[in-house]
Amino acid sequence: MSKEHYTKRCKDLTEGDKRMKQLVTLNINGEEHQLAISPDATLLKVLRDELGLLGTKRGCDTSACGCCTVHLDGKAVYACVVYAMSVQGSEVTTIEGIGSNGNLDPLQDAFIQAGAVQCGFCTSGIIMAAKQLLDDEPNPDEEQIRHGIAGNLCRCTGYAKIVDAIKLAANN
């Protein structure tokens, strides 16, 4: 790096953060949260660092592993590539927001019963992807299931018992 370039970069960086935080209202799992967030904060970062919703995981931060899958107005998205600012007015659902009246969602229960959980780091994201699949197609065949979770990586299970669990949830 040239001295001139270096000096300029130092100046740019040390002049302070020009991206002032902004006040936003986000609807997460049916509750409204007022937050001051930086415009470049991702939904993943806000969920984990601001709201303490640690069920949504960061596996790559480059929209490739699926660990951070959440629902945005009922559609599965990668929270690591969604700006939190952009989801105002939308409903965000995370793994903490599924199931009802203290009961597990049928998918969560099926993952336990089928032994579809090993290290569990991908589990939240895969359940959210599978939930959209079952919302769209309550009786998916095996190929639809496999394509429905193809955006989510798992290194432990070979996906076999995950596919079993989704079949089990669809049948219940």
């Binding site: 790096m1 270096y6 970069r9 130092c10 960086l13 040390t14 302070g16 953060d17 930086s38 919703l53 640690l54 069920g55 995981k57 960061r58 596996g59 790559c60 931060d61 480059t62 929209s63 490739a64 592993c65 660990c67 995370t94 793994i95 903490e96 199931g99 597990l104 969560q108 229960d109 993952f111 336990i112 019963q113 032994g115 959980v117 090993q118 290290c119 569990g120 780091f121 991908c122 589990t123 939240s124 359940i127 299931i145 496999r146 394509h147 979770i149 193809a150 955006g151 989510n152 990586l153 798992c154 290194r155 432990c156 299970t157 070979g158 996906y159 076999a160 018992k161 995950i162 596919v163």
Partner: protein
């Protein structure tokens, strides 16, 4: 509940409920008040000397609390490998925490702790480093030339380690052979791809004691290696065992740069410091080493192996790390041991290059050896028109043979041939067509790969820890808490160990809970690695449970006015043998032990039971297993090769394992199915690539580093478990995990050959390689 109602049952995982609702127990979730965030500045050059480094502008940035460079950290060279003593002869100590000499692109050269990740990242930009670039070498065989750039002065020709083994008379063995086969087999660098990134939170208190939270496979190794690198006594470090971690697979068996750096930053600032690696940083932190195997085998017309000679060249990258150990395990278990043959010779080279460092990964050198050995056997059988199963049978070990690793041990349980026979029947091996005879453009083939000798832990290895311990403590409600240093990587160690304790103690499976542990409170434990948890940790928890049970029955005998030898405990009830109606709940016995000596009754104060009954019912153990029984494995796969696109699809797998005894069938199947995912990735697509001029990682995220999704995985993965009842194991069990990833590449390569009549000897078997081999590219 009897033993048979617990052992061999698919008991549900106790951690599953938490994990399906979000999962709290991961180290990545640890957050402490006042915590700082640190980031590392990494070198863009693969080989360089730092001639100047200016951190003054970074230090001025508001929010920056500390900046470290080489001058601020201890310079004691260390090996990061967890499972050997720090000063073990077999290790090579060639790393320092931060150095002014860079040997791979991405090596950290400075670190910043700040009040937020964003500020720490900004501060890195303000550090000005002057590098003097040095000549590079990326190919290990080039690195072995005298003219090559030298990475470490203590290792001429860049050879960090050069072990060799010889048995019998190889020249005589080759003279005896009717045929001699020679081949070169090359494997690539792949990543374990644990989903939870490597992360640590380290808090140094005002008296200089460090508390460490970290996503690692070994709490005691982390303590020991961290203490050594920091040049402080171990007793100044407490490592907390995480309830679970997001995968390991061998990729979390060493300190990286982040742990010593976080510790020093915490000591400097007086605040807890957290470092979480990005996926790019994870990709250049650990990998399975590429190994090139030159393999020569002599065989008689009937298929008897008369001699085997091999040379293996392992690219260990910038530092020796695990490469110092992987080469030995690869040579012995991957190349030398698997088949009976009196005349064998092997030489290995662990070679420095300017590539990234390697690490541990399931199989630890064995998959690379298995690919070479099994691929060549397939060639031999094809050439000599021998059935691959009969060839292996002829050269296989038998139950009752001395163990090739240690002749003082006997193969007391050995289901190698049974695994082949049962798998063959299931897949329809006898219907297998001749190589290349499949019609059309989409050609199908069936292949076999086996691994006849592997480990259940590290008993017998020089310089490698193997003892382990446990504490079993009974509660007044009749349940038991198990504390052990064994980390659950995800494969269900907690579930299986709790099942073993429940079976031994006579409790229901869900009455035993894996509780808190750290390096201060539980006995030493070797890492969760080397397929050892079920066997070695299983023996330790069983021994601790047996001790607790002995005490339980001593008290019960007094209370029930019986002889302890006449009592048994099952389903949470203590019963007199032969009188099933004379029972007492375990909880009541524990209450006797835990109650006050004097209790206030309706008749006034009275002794509840004699003083000798009082005291928590507890059992402890710290022991090494008696031996190292081998599992045995045979994998049959069916593939379809599209000869127009070069695409290989794995359609069906039949994977047969002799694992002694299945403790939890669902968990065992999970190991096999997950192992196939890693094995198929290794065989067909995964490859950590680096620019050959700049050394930059080209596959630094999952968009470029491809691993199998649910779509690429076979629709049928069938597990066959052969229960040979290992006499030295807990309830007959031995090991499973690593065998599940060792064999797939060899079996898939054989199936590809069977489909198209062309053999690929360099992994991964990409469409390009298939089309080139078919002559259409």
């Amino acid at each position: 509940m009897t033993v048979a109602e617990i052992i061999g049952q698919s008991v549900l995982r106790p951690d599953a409920h938490d994990k399906v609702t979000g999962g709290k127990g991961y180290p990545v979730n640890v957050s402490l008040p006042g915590m700082l965030h640190a980031k590392l500045l990494r070198s863009p050059y693969p080989h360089a000397r730092i001639i100047g480094i200016d951190t003054s502008e970074a230090e001025k940035l508001p929010g920056v609390k500390a900046v470290l460079t080489a001058k601020d950290v201890p310079q004691r060279p260390f090996s990061p490998v967890f499972f050997c003593p720090t000063e073990a002869k077999s290790l090579v100590r060639d790393m320092v925490i931060l150095s002014n000499r860079v040997r791979f692109a991405g090596q950290p050269v400075a670190a910043v702790a700040a009040t937020s990740e964003a500020i720490a990242t900004q501060a890195l930009e303000l550090i000005d480093v002057d590098y003097e670039e040095l000549p590079t070498v990326f190919d290990p065989e080039e690195a072995m030339q005298e003219s090559a750039p030298q990475l470490h002065e203590s290792s001429p020709n860049n050879v960090a380690k050069n072990p060799s083994f010889a048995f019998g008379d190889v020249e005589a063995g080759f003279a005896e052979a009717d045929h001699i086969f020679e081949g070169v087999y090359q494997t690539q660098r792949v990543h374990t791809c644990y989903m939870e990134p490597r992360v640590c939170v380290i808090d140094c208190d005002t008296q200089g004691h460090f508390t460490v939270h970290c996503s690692m496979q070994h709490i005691f190794g982390l303590r020991e290696k961290l203490a050594y690198a920091l040049e402080i006594p171990e007793s100044r470090i407490t490592v907390i065992k995480p309830p679970y971690i997001g995968g390991g697979f061998g990729g979390k068996l060493d300190i990286g740069y982040i742990e010593p750096i976080a510790a020093i930053l915490s000591e400097t600032t007086g605040k807890p410091v957290r470092i979480e690696q990005s996926r790019y940083e994870d990709f250049i932190t650990t990998a399975r080493h590429p190994i090139k195997v030159y393999l020569k085998t002599g065989v008689k017309n009937d298929g008897t192996i008369t001699a085997r000679e091999a040379k293996s060249i392992l690219d260990t990258g910038a530092h020796a790390t695990h490469g110092a150990e992987v080469i030995m395990v690869h040579g012995l278990f991957g190349v030398v041991f698997p088949y009976k043959c009196e005349n064998k010779k092997w030489e290995g080279f662990t070679v420095y290059t300017n590539n990234m460092i390697g690490g541990g990964y399931r199989g630890y050198g064995c998959p690379q050896g298995c690919f070479a050995v099994e691929s060549q056997i397939d060639e031999i059988c094809e050439e000599l028109k021998l059935d691959p199963i009969e060839f292996r049978r002829k050269n296989a070990y038998q139950k009752g043979d001395p163990h090739p690793f240690n002749p003082a041990w006997t193969l007391n349980s050995y289901g190698y041939e049974e695994a082949m026979d049962k798998g063959a029947e299931r897949i329809g091996w006898s219907q297998r067509a001749a190589a290349g005879s499949s019609p059309g453009t989409k050609k199908r083939g069936i292949g076999l790969g086996t691994q006849g000798i592997w480990v259940s832990g590290c008993m017998g290895f020089p310089d490698i820890y193997e003892h382990t311990g446990a504490i079993v403590k009974m509660n007044s409600d009749g349940t038991a808490d198990l504390a052990s240093g064994t980390v659950d990587l995800g494969s269900g160690q907690n579930t299986v160990l709790c099942q073993i304790v429940a079976a031994e103690l006579g409790l229901e499976a869900d009455q035993v809970r894996m509780s808190y542990a750290d390096t201060d409170t539980v006995p030493f434990d070797a890492p969760t690695h080397a397929s050892r948890a079920t066997y070695s940790s299983g023996l330790a928890v069983q021994a601790a449970a047996a001790e607790a049970k002995k005490r339980l029955l001593e008290i019960a005998a007094d209370v029930m006015e019986a002889n302890p030898d006449d009592l048994e405990v099952s389903g949470g009830q203590v019963a007199v043998k032969g009188s099933p109606n004379t029972t007492m709940p375990v909880a009541d016995i524990v209450k006797v032990a835990e109650s006050p000596f004097i209790v206030d009754t309706e008749h006034g104060p009275a002794p509840s039971s004699p003083p000798q009954h009082k005291g928590t019912i507890i059992g402890t153990s710290s022991l090494a297993p008696p031996e190292n029984p081998t599992p045995a494995t045979a994998l049959f796969v069916e593939v379809e090769v599209d000869t127009e696109t070069g695409q290989v699809d794995v359609l069906r797998c039949v994977y047969a394992h002799d694992l002694g005894k299945v403790i939890n069938p669902n968990a065992a199947e999970g190991q096999v199915e997950g192992g196939m995912q890693q094995g198929i990735g290794y065989a067909l697509m995964e490859d950590l690539l680096f620019d050959t001029e700049t050394g930059a990682c080209l596959t630094s995220d999952f968009l470029d580093y491809k691993m199998p999704t649910a779509v690429e995985m076979p629709r049928q993965i069938e597990s066959i478990f052969i229960e040979t009842n290992e006499p030295s194991g807990p309830f007959g069990a031995k090991s499973l995990s690593e065998q599940c990833v060792t064999v797939p590449a060899a079996a898939i390569a054989a199936a590809v050959y069977n489909a198209i009549g062309v053999r690929i000897t360099e992994l991964p078997i990409t469409p390009e390689k298939i089309l080139r081999a078919l002559g259409t590219l």
